[in-house]
């Protein structure tokens, strides 16, 4: 009877999911309630977790709970710590969930709600979760080794080197693009700039508290910090209302760029306890709170989605970024569906803390499902606003014009009715001078979130507070990615430099710290600068570049995973990783080719450079703008070279892997796995980790 009931419940869940998916896929012409998105996503995730992840765990990976994990064998109370699975799930989710699942779906909403939503759900279930789960498993079986080390051991030495280089390249592009999102959110906004600036002294105050006053008391320090940050959000309004203070905090895009570059350099070079770590604690708490509030808000308000299922921009003429639905929808939404960067987390701290092998399913597969759900919520928030407003916020001035009237006329011509006064009124309501031309996703997501929150608490009266709370939340954890990423990049530069000159690798040597910090900041700072001065909006160039790089890293991770499965003798099941890998290689190579060689100047880097060069040759560029145009031409050619190099590196790795797979399948080579030897666990079945070990 119990079995029958269980089956019946799962049939109901699957039917609900299928019905909700059909509703969002087939509805045309009327606005759709957001609850259908929540229902479709939740049911698909439940069924996928119950069936597909169980299949991968049992048949493909054959997880073994009698085997001691690295946390048991090397338990040292520092790196290797057996941790309760719920606590580790929280750690892992906090590490993988950054701004990507919020910004990517918001940008991809220009295609309409349907393509992005379907990719978020299907991509996560069949590719993203599988990647995180399998890489986590591989790392557990290898004492917590990193993706680069596993690529070197299981694929080839060159494979490991390529993976390391790819990580550094992706880091540089990632940091540039997330910084650009912050610049576009803060420029000409004294309220938002003041609030974010205040998080720096607040974080330093917490740093001193945690180091000298109450060492390691993270919870109480974070609560103090969160209260201060919320006060800063409210105080930002007073700053914006004061003419003198408002003037001091109204900064141009270039001024904010300089400030962010200086900040990241300081965060990388200063002791980690002073600025970077306390900001990370603040960010983690506010992130958890904001995501939970957004989910609760969507469930309570049940907003209508006004964006059509498909827009006219699926043909590649979109104003937010150029590119057809294939492959650019799948490049734009990386985190939320599949993100190569996750493989670095799955082969980082998490495998060293996992209690039992079977927990890898809940933590690896389950946490990625939750991140995908965050992506679906971001899609709902973006599509719940009027499409005209969405396009006015996210389109660059070079396409829609710089005044509300010009933007409204252009966007209305596209079939999305918008009055210029609507944008002026909305900007006034959220406490901004203007909301136009703020490409990057953060401001439009903040408007969407603010509208949902204010429908629950405060109405229009609190819209400006909610908007600036959302901007602060996004910018705060983007800056956390920025400073943590800059520091990691600094270590990578020091490691690479140490191969040439050994003292450079010493992480405590001050000149080495300063020089390596300056190098990594200069690398991403250059890409950020070119994005800020790009008249087509830097997002058009940089976000696809970031998506390509991130998905290429995912392809690297899936190459390693497929090789390991082959060596384990699971040839029958290699489709589980091989099919997502083939899909990623197809979309990334197509996107790379189009971004380099497409003849449309908005799309192809070389076409844009050539079009500008032709204008210079024809004398159409005024003398005052000649130097800027020459720099723009150089930048476009540089972007083309970077894309080509990334694609070439991954192709080399794939060829190396194919040679090895052929040798293994044709039995010309004996499979050699580099797993740690089997050691039986000493823990009883009830042992639940140190968090509850004394229960």
């Amino acid at each position: 009877m119990n079995k029958f009931l269980t089956k019946l419940i799962w049939i109901v869940v699957a039917s609900l999911g299928a019905g909700a998916l059909a509703k969002i896929a087939l509805q045309r012409g009327e606005s759709l309630n957001a609850i259908w998105f929540v229902l479709a996503a939740a049911c698909c995730y439940l069924v996928a977790y119950r069936l597909y992840s169980a299949f991968v765990a049992a048949k493909v990976l054959a997880l073994d709970d009698t085997r001691a994990t690295p946390a048991e064998r090397h338990d040292d109370g520092r790196d290797f710590v057996p941790t309760n699975k719920w606590v580790l799930f929280g750690h892992h989710f906090a590490a993988i969930a950054g701004p990507g699942p919020l910004v990517g779906p918001t940008l991809a909403a220009q295609f309409g709600y349907l393509p992005g939503t379907l990719w978020l759900i299907a991509g996560a279930v069949l590719a993203g979760c599988v990647q995180d789960f399998v890489i986590l498993f591989c790392s557990i079986r290898r004492d917590g080794k990193s993706l680069g080390e596993m690529a070197r051991e299981e694929v080839s030495k060159r494979g490991g080197f390529i993976a390391q280089l790819a990580v550094l390249a992706i880091l540089v592009i990632l940091l540039a693009v997330v910084a650009l999102v912050v610049v576009n959110a803060l420029k000409s906004s004294p309220w938002a700039t003041f609030t974010l600036a205040m998080t720096i002294p607040i974080a330093m105050l917490l740093g001193v508290y945690l180091r000298y006053l109450r060492p390691g008391r993270v919870l109480e320090a974070s609560l103090i910090g969160v209260a201060l940050v919320l006060f800063a959000v409210v105080a930002g309004q007073w700053v914006a209302d004061s003419p003198s203070w408002s003037h001091a905090f109204t900064l141009s895009g270039l001024a904010i760029t300089a400030a962010i570059i200086l900040y990241a350099f300081a965060a990388s070079a200063l002791p980690v306890w002073l600025l970077l770590a306390p900001r990370d604690y603040l960010s983690a708490f506010i992130k958890a709170g904001a995501i939970f509030s957004l989910a609760a808000g969507i469930l309570l308000v049940r907003p209508s989605v006004h964006m059509p299922a498909l827009t006219r921009f699926i043909d590649g003429s979109g104003p937010v970024f150029a590119g057809k639905i294939f492959p650019f929808c799948f490049i734009t939404i990386a985190c939320g569906a599949i993100s190569g960067f996750h493989s670095l987390i799955s082969s980082g701290t998490t495998p060293k803390m996992i209690l039992r092998e079977t927990h890898a399913r809940f933590i690896g597969y389950g946490a990625m499902l939750l991140e995908s759900f965050v992506g679906v919520m971001a899609m709902v928030a973006a599509c719940a606003m009027q499409p005209g407003v969405y396009f006015a916020i996210n389109s660059p001035a070079g396409i829609v014009g710089a005044t509300p009237e010009a933007a409204a006329a252009t966007i209305s011509n596209w079939g999305f009715p918008l009055a210029g006064q609507t944008m002026t009124d909305l900007a006034h309501k959220v406490g901004e001078l203007t909301l136009l031309n703020r490409a990057g996703g953060a401001p439009s997501l903040a408007v969407g979130m603010a509208q949902i929150f204010s429908s629950t608490i405060g109405g229009d009266r609190l819209l400006s507070i909610w908007y600036h709370f959302a901007i602060m939340f996004e910018a705060l954890f983007i800056l956390t990615v920025l400073d943590a990423g800059t520091r990691v990049g600094r270590f990578m530069v020091q490691e690479l430099g140490g191969r040439v000159w050994k003292p450079f690798a010493r992480t405590s040597w001050t000149p080495g710290i300063l020089l390596s910090s300056a190098i990594i900041v200069a690398l991403w700072g250059y890409f950020l600068y070119q994005g800020v001065v790009d008249p087509l909006g830097g997002i058009n160039s940089l976000w696809p570049l970031f998506g390509i790089a991130n998905q290429l890293l995912a392809a690297v991770a899936l190459v390693v995973a497929t090789t390991v499965l082959l060596k384990m003798g699971r040839t029958r099941w290699i489709g589980v990783t091989l099919v997502p890998m083939a899909w990623l290689v197809t979309i990334t190579m197509t996107a790379s080719y189009q971004k380099i060689f497409d003849p449309n100047p908005r799309m192809g880097f070389l076409a844009y450079a050539n079009a500008l060069a032709a204008q210079v040759a024809a004398g159409k560029i005024p003398a005052a703008k000649l130097a800027d145009t020459q720099r723009l031409i150089f930048n476009q050619r540089l972007d083309a070279v970077v894309t080509a190099v990334l694609a070439a590196m991954v192709l080399v790795l794939i060829v190396e892997a194919l040679v090895q797979w052929y040798a293994l399948l044709s039995r010309r080579r004996e499979p050699v796995l580099h797993e740690s030897p089997y050691v039986a666990t000493q823990w009883g079945p009830d042992f639940a980790g140190t968090a509850h070990g004394d229960d």
Partner: protein, 67 residues
Amino acid sequence: MRAHLHAGKRMLRKVWRGLREWCGDAAYERYLRSRTQRNALPQCTLSAEEFYVEQLNRRYSHPNRCC
């Protein structure tokens, strides 16, 4: 009724401990427990401040935050 209250209290205690573990509040206590279990020399045990700084330096030397 009392049984429900007791179960509720146990649940809250578990959530509280989980939260302290998640945010890192309990890291030093866990480290001390691990040292005791391994019978490590007390003079080699780090102070709370040393442990906090050492743990941060290790955590932020490799990718620990995704995009």
